[in-house]
């Protein structure tokens, strides 16, 4: 025995207890005359009833009574923890900033030293080049002198 397709939706809404008074009146009138729908209606209501959880026990009710206070305490604990983490984070950030500030001049000095080394190196290279050039001139002079000597000889 199956339910009438036209009433299937209403039967489900009856099981979910969401029928309007008008819908309910129309459906109950139909259920009085249709065995298939009546059987389906009963089965659906039974299914929802079987799925329901039992009412809260007295112990659970008492336990819930204390929840506003315990939840508030938990909220404050969480707030304190967040503030602490924030402070620790800010402390770490401040320490990092101090470290950077204290290290920066040293780094800057090191940088300057490196630059001056490079600057010192430049004249040395120039001097070396000059020295080399001097040598070349001296060599050519020597050659010419020797050559001259040879010529003279």
């Amino acid at each position: 025995m199956t339910a009438c397709p036209d009433f299937e939706q209403l039967l489900l809404e009856r099981a979910s207890d969401t029928l309007t008074p008008e819908q309910s009146a129309r459906l109950e009138k139909h259920l009085a005359t249709c065995a298939g729908c009546a059987s389906e209606a009963q089965a659906l209501v039974e299914t929802v009833a079987l799925a329901k959880l039992p009412p809260l026990t007295p112990r659970e009710r008492i336990s819930l009574q204390g929840m506003p206070l315990s939840a508030l305490a938990a909220w404050h604990r969480a707030e304190r923890r967040t503030r602490l983490f924030r402070r620790v984070g800010m402390g770490i950030a401040a320490a990092a900033a101090v470290a950077v500030v204290s290290v920066l001049p040293t780094l800057a000095r090191k940088g300057q030293t490196t630059n001056s080394a490079v600057q010192v190196e430049d004249p040395t290279v120039a001097a070396l080049e000059g020295w080399g050039a001097d040598d070349l001139i001296a060599d050519s002079l020597a050659d010419s002198i020797v050559g001259g000597d040879v010529v003279d000889e």
Partner: protein, 219 residues
Amino acid sequence: MPFDAKAERSVDPRLRRALRLVEMVPELKLDDDELCRAFLAGDESAFGDLIRRHQARVYTVVRRYAPDPEDARDLTQRAFLRAFQAARRALSRFGPKHSIPFQAWLFRIAVNLGKNHARQERRWKRAPISDVELNAPSQTSALDALVWAEASKLVRKAVLNLPRRQREVFTLRVDAELSFGEVGSALGMSENSAKVHFHYAVKRLRLVLAEQREKEKNS
């Protein structure tokens, strides 16, 4: 303070009438949004009011997933705290005029916490459904009560095995007794979608029950 008739008579009659009028006005019932804002502004009594308003229904929803009363209580408390944190974040991010659908957030959080808890329970191979007290109707024989208890156990297990959306809708409708409009707003769907999911869920549960009864008949 003891009643002093003389002092009472000395009060301006107009003020007395005004005070009487104030006493006649019923206590103003603030909605969730107002209570939540009041708490975040520092009114701790609003926190308690909001919790008392919803705690039994939230507890019932999470109890579906966490049959141990201690676990269910812990999850309920966490759901409230997270909902308040979400409200505070929303207000700081979007400004004080942003609306706070506190109930919708609360139940969505509760369902998610419950689902995660059930997943962890399953991972640890604990059978959550067996611990719940059975809900046999009164005035039944012992045999009927036993049959009812077995069927109830089966259907409750089937509820946890429903597809996600169907399970969430079914739980919020049956356990929290939210209207389909409220269920839809908690789960981010339309009222009609919530109805459709509920109907599919009931049909599926009905099928599970019918199959079981058929098996029992055959055996």
